[in-house]
Symmetry: D2
Subunit: 269 residues, 4 copies
């Protein structure tokens, strides 16, 4: 069984190295999540359990893999941004993509019960992923803005749509017809006049999605110690600084966010 005789097949692998000095974005999407949401009775238009589970998985991805500077998620998608200078796995595109989606997928099942309690997971879900390179900081910011603008547009639509269905008793088709051709202002008006809802008071997580960044966090722990000359153990408070993945639900389209967290785009980050 001469393995060497067959090893020529390795030459068919192609090099998929990402261009250096570009931001590497991997975006993951749930596969057939419309159906998945129905079968698992997700609340409409937003299910907190599902959103928090997505974020838990994304945090796991950031902690387990290398060089992710920021992530952004909404609905059943999450984007992970690897640093411009990352040399993780020699910048091979397939490594980035498959590590992200496999870690996310296994985490989704692993942490499911922490968020969905007695709602049983019926089958293992699938996800897909793609990779895109952005040469400049502006390109990257525009990418993230694109996803957040998409979150806003979809969430405003879904909020009105489900109000019409759940509260006004319209059928989905009727609700769709009603919203056909309406602008953002029209939708805000329907929410306010018909349902007494000020869209701007809706939860930030729904309207802005979730941004994950690395933050230094001071953790205060109580620790039992026994001093040499004392007979009893004593509790003391210990402060430790750790770098953690922290979720934010804020605007990332304007400049303010980037001014507040300049380290995200810093060249040597």
């Amino acid at each position: 069984m001469a393995k060497s005789k067959f090893e020529y097949v390795r030459d068919f692998e192609t090099d998929d190295t990402c261009l250096p000095n570009c931001w590497i974005v991997v975006r993951l999407d749930g596969r057939n999540f419309h159906r998945f949401a129905e079968q698992h009775e997700f609340k409409k238009p937003n299910d907190d359990r599902a959103l928090h589970l997505m974020t838990k998985c994304a945090q796991t991805v950031m902690q387990e893999l290398e060089d992710i500077a920021i992530a952004y998620g909404q609905s059943d998608e999450y984007s992970f941004v690897f640093k411009k200078k990352s040399k993780w796995f020699k910048r091979r595109a397939s490594k980035f993509m498959t590590h992200v989606v496999s870690q996310f997928a296994s985490s989704y099942v692993f942490y499911w019960k922490d968020y969905f309690k007695d709602q049983q997971l019926l089958y293992p879900p699938g996800f897909d992923g793609r990779i895109v390179l952005y040469p400049s900081n502006q390109n990257l910011k525009d990418y993230l803005s694109w996803r957040q603008a998409d979150c806003h547009i979809n969430n405003l639509y879904n909020t009105v749509f489900w109000m019409l269905v759940q509260r006004s008793g319209l059928t989905p088709v009727q609700a769709q017809d009603r919203l056909q051709g309406t602008l953002a202002g029209d939708k805000n008006e329907i929410l306010f006049s018909e349902f007494n809802i000020n869209y701007n008071n809706e939860p930030l997580m729904y309207r802005k999605g979730t941004v994950l960044i690395w933050q230094k966090v001071n953790e205060v722990m109580t620790k039992k110690i026994k001093l040499p000359k004392e007979s009893e153990e004593k509790e003391v408070e210990v402060t430790r600084t750790r770098t953690k993945v922290v979720p934010l639900h804020c605007d990332i389209i304007g400049e303010q966010f980037w001014e507040e967290y300049p380290e995200i785009l810093a060249e040597d980050s």
Copy 2:
């Protein structure tokens, strides 16, 4: 929030269509499975629970995704072969890779308890994947032969290595030294003379790995029916033909396998 202003970022996505008329192979590997195996107390050199779980996940991948003609697995890796003519997701490489690894990873956690019983899963595992194209049937067969030859070489080594450690009490370093420079014949001889083991009698699953193919299966079911003029229900046997993913542990290097299952490589498959 003009989404359209940012949408230019979509132009940065590149086309990763696979060349038509080639076999598309996605190979998945466990990430840090050496450590994972230790922490979950896998039996050495082969853990039946782990191997069967891998195969269960691979079966799920074949059933959930489209156009997989054959799969081959050993240890912590699995290769999936998509048909030459597949047009699934327009043959986009990223779709193939990420669907395979995410479905596999979520299935691994989902089905874990069916195979590992009271052995708790400690954390969500990761997998990576790569994609390779093979233009000719011979290239594809040589690829699969390469993986099966690799299985054989590793398994023979591991079988002797763990015998030396487990039965003769050598340290891993001593066992490694003992095997340094030995040929296949030497290893067979050690197994036979020192441990009374005929390597050829070792389980086929360990020696050959696992081949997954589609097979027509006749399923006989008993069904209760009530005929019009009878008062009682009656049990009848119903035979149904289904296409299922079936595991085999056979040689795929020689021609016999391919002659027995010509449909796998059939042009119109």
Copy 3:
């Protein structure tokens, strides 16, 4: 002037290796040759000087570069087929493309005067090129058939079009209108009934384009020798076998051509 400080820029070069075991086709096209043809007073619909010059350049490309098995040309385009097993320049796509077009372009100017005599070359022409891989012999034959079918369709159209313009005195727009929506049969009929031309008697080079293949050729040379015992030089005939690039104007869509020259597609060619 520390060169090494800047050498990191080499890492930005990407690997463009062609998949092994595929036919590599480079197709070259004249840039703005419509205008070029007018300015150099090419005869319409076919200019023998231009066609023969194209073929001379293609022959030069085949002789200068490695591993070209066959070439096919028509109008201002030429396709070069590199062998499946070629390892020329490690199968780098950029090398194949640029060597073909640069050798062709320099040859076009170099040999111009041999074909166009006192028609002066007014400016250096440009060409573009692309590369395509074909995994199977059938794919390759279909590619070449596609180009030859294109040659036929264009040449039939052009033959009628220019007859209507040159002989019937139609303006180009009138000729175009006349041919709008006509089928091949209609065009043959116009040629025959209005111009007494049987299209099938038109020169093969116009109707079929030019195929370039390698052929063993016996060359008979006369050589002057002086035998030891004779006082006079004597002329003798010497036969030498050489492999040359030979132009053919034959059908390559049917099987006959490939049966006659099996060595072109031979695996070990």
Copy 4:
């Protein structure tokens, strides 16, 4: 002859679009120019005719093709830099490469006689090309610095080498041995002490290579006009502003060049 039956082969063409917002560099090299130089009796270490012809060809490339912001050449190579925002041919890599090398190659033969006078061109030369993307201005400047540093290093070596051969009568092997392991300072010293040559007084074109940029040029032309009320024609001077490709032989490694010509890197250029 159903062309449509074969047209599926077009699907085998792959998309080779260059990532947006990156500088696109095409570098061209002479093929076997060592041999070409010998056969055409190039002067050593630098042949002005050959260098000027290279630059004439590069100017033609810049004028004929779109969106080239700057070019740099030395010896038998030339690099062409396309603008970050260029959308020429949808940024297809093959189009950039093949247009550059084919236009260069045809120009080389076309303009040969203007530079080499009675030195006959013996055969059509070949060139190869490659394409590289640079995301940032700094990357691009470092690329050009890399080529200019290479020019300096080679030219210093060649200048000493050929002095040793031409003036001191060393064989090439002896000259090579003599220079083995010498640093720049050593080579300068040999030139000065043995040949009374101050390397810094050598022509800039040899030491710095050639930079091609676009410059607004005022051209003064004399034009004959005939005013209405006068009987005689009269000569007048007309000044016209044109944008031309201008050769420079200056340092491009330091910042001064880029400060002097900020428009080259300007975002909207």
